[in-house]
């Protein structure tokens, strides 16, 4: 089916729903790379006029990627909740934007199972950055393992103590630094230098030891391939959360070595361990615009829409955490701070609307046109938008992955200016450790009982 609109006397035609969505997307380098971007500013706006008229039901009858050849499409359509969809079933994309802006929090929560990734991606293309903040802010998704993530007025952080050779003393030093700065309530998560089960297990045991010894109400994760986690769980390693990078098409997931069947297996295995105390959300997913294009597996679907489809995969497993690693891949997908900010707001909005506990790795590489001011801008907007958590690294400089993310200091800033607090269990722990000051902020300490973590391993 084709779509048309007339703008200033000029007639624009879009040959398919996928072409229409791509042309309506805000400009980004990845869509140009894929040959999908609007060819002019006029064409982009014309696509938005046409998109505004498309009924939401069209997305249920006109799959962007064929049902027969893609298991993510099948997942989306087979699990669609018609009853939940009812309040918006008669709306066009343009009317849906206005419905979202006026709906209250319970209505947004109730409609989530009735929405598909394509619907939320489509409506995001008609929204300004402020719209994306205003709507996402109203959506609360609360999950739990040993800490509760996503409550109003709270912001959790992932403490990321990476080390280029997984040196235990180096990891412990960075871990101590993060804890003393009040970080780690979302997860203490390491990107290991290798995916070898032995190396991953050593890191898991290091983290588990610290968490148990100091009774920290948080969870650990060593971000290895899902098959490695399954293997380690079978051998009794202390796995809290199962991690996996996922994407929005079957072929892109295949490039990560992942199938829905593998994820099902890992999910069941992790649930059986019963390691959580306040909740049973056991999965941790990472996504990011550009992954499907980078794997040559986007099927002519624009970068943002295919990213939103990854959230349908995540939604199947009631994850504790989902984060978009928004600026990680490089400028061929998101060119500069402006494009990275827009993508961050879109991803957070789409994930939240689909019912996911969305956090972000607010980050950039050195070949993108971005700097620490862009991180500050993104942090502030995502904090206002109600992001569940952000990823933090020492000084914002990840020495293992060679990119820049937010720092522990950045999280302190965000909590301070927006009056946000850590997860309640973690906040109580900080209090018990003498790390909270009288205003609820993180006390500045020189020496502390926790420093034993570093001293022993560094000895």
């Amino acid at each position: 089916m084709s779509y048309t609109s007339t703008l200033g006397g000029e007639r624009h035609r879009f040959d398919s729903l996928a072409r229409l969505l791509a042309a309506a997307s805000p400009e980004r380098s990845g869509d140009h790379l894929a040959g999908l971007a609007a060819t002019s500013a006029r064409q982009r706006v014309a696509a938005r006029w046409a998109l505004a008229e498309v009924p939401l039901t069209t997305f249920l009858t006109e799959p962007l990627i064929p049902y027969e050849s893609d298991d993510v499409t099948r997942l989306i359509l087979d699990t669609h909740d018609t009853a939940a969809f009812a309040p918006v079933a008669g709306l066009t994309v343009g009317e849906f934007r206005e419905w979202l802006l006026t709906a209250d929090s319970p209505a947004l929560t109730a409609v989530a199972p009735g929405l598909t990734p394509e619907m939320v991606a489509a409506v995001s293309k008609l929204m300004g950055n402020a719209d994306l903040v205003a709507v996402a802010r109203k959506v609360r998704v609360v999950t739990g393992f040993r800490s509760t993530i996503g409550l109003p007025g709270r912001l959790a952080t992932r403490l990321q103590p990476n080390h280029p050779t997984d040196d235990p003393a180096g990891v412990a030093a960075a871990l101590l630094d993060g804890l003393l700065l009040g970080s780690g309530d979302a997860v203490i998560g390491i990107n290991p230098a290798t995916d070898s089960p032995k190396a991953v297990r050593e890191l898991l045991e290091l983290l588990d030891g610290v968490i148990r010894r100091y009774a920290i109400p948080t969870q650990s994760c060593v971000l290895c391939h899902v098959t490695t986690s399954v293997d380690l769980m079978e051998r009794g390693a202390p796995v809290d959360l199962v991690f996996q990078s996922i994407a929005g098409t079957q072929a892109a997931n295949a490039s990560f070595g992942v199938t829905l069947g593998l994820l099902d297996e890992a999910y069941e295995a992790a649930l059986k361990l019963e390691r959580g105390t306040v909740g049973r959300n056991v999965m941790y997913f990472e996504t990011g615009q550009g992954a499907a294009l980078s794997a040559d597996a986007h099927h002519g679907v624009d970068q943002q829409t295919v990213e939103a489809r990854a959230y349908a995969v995540a939604r199947r497993y009631d994850p504790l955490l989902v984060n978009t690693v928004v600026g990680f891949i490089g400028p061929e997908y998101l060119y500069d701070g402006r494009q990275i900010l827009r993508a961050a707001l879109e991803d957070h909005f789409c994930g939240k609307l689909l019912g996911l506990p969305m956090g972000l790795d607010i980050c950039y590489t050195n070949h993108a046109d971005a700097d620490d001011d862009d991180v500050a801008t993104m942090l502030t907007m995502l904090g206002v938008a109600g992001a569940s958590f952000v990823i933090c690294t020492p000084g914002g400089d990840d020495i293992m992955l060679n990119y820049q993310s937010a720092s522990y200091h950045d999280a302190l800033y965000l909590r301070e200016v927006l009056g946000l607090r850590p997860a309640p269990e973690f906040e109580a722990w900080l209090e018990s450790m003498g790390l909270l000051d009288e205003r609820g902020g993180i006390r500045e300490v020189g020496s502390h009982a926790l420093t034993a973590i570093g001293k022993e391993l560094a000895a």
Binding site: A169, H225, N366, G454
Partner: protein, 252 residues
Amino acid sequence: MSEVTLDNDELWISLRRHTQARIGLGRSGSALPTRHRLELQTAHAAARDAVHSPFEPDTVAAGLAGMATVRVRSAAGDRLTYLQRPDLGRRLDPTDRAHLPTGEWDVAFVVADGLSSRAVHEHAAAVVRETAALLAGWRIAPVVLAEQARVALGDDVGAAMGAEMVVVLVGERPGMSAADSLGAYLTYRPVPGVTTDADRNCLSNIRPPSGLSYEGAAVKLAGLMGRGRELGVTGVGLKDESDHGDVSGRLL
């Protein structure tokens, strides 16, 4: 002044021996002390400059001490295009392809600016010289100096020159702690558009004195080349002896 300076605390001094991570930086309110904010900006500036510094083929040629060289450009005409269009950075400019000499060569070295021409200027010539010195009896093609080039440009070069094996030395994506890191990619009988990254062996972080030394890189590379030629394969079929890890758990 509420700043607590952890910098010189004995504990942090001892912990910093174990990691280059920016730990124990102290605070001014919630923010970084001025010195650390400026240090981060200094490191970022070095990384940005590394990305945008123009490639100087003369510098590399001068370091090659008598080895013949030939200069090419990719199909990405400038840096902005290069950063946004990886597909163009993998293809030779058609005119330059036509100028490449052909021959019965066992190996062609390609020095590609990649994302850090600084890494290439500082390290590439030495790696080529030290490796070539270990390749007794190999017929070595003129060294190709390639501008606005990504790793897979070597496939195009190897195919155009008729070289059996291609070694691409490329400036790696600069991090804030390392803006001058060189990578080496080895490919046996590359075919543009058919060869994939799974067909290559990689040595990364060549960056003495902090990273891999020239001699260490040359020994590993020459070893891989010898065994790759015997087996008739590179990539997953040839054991990578690099001790540098991958990041396969992570979105790439």
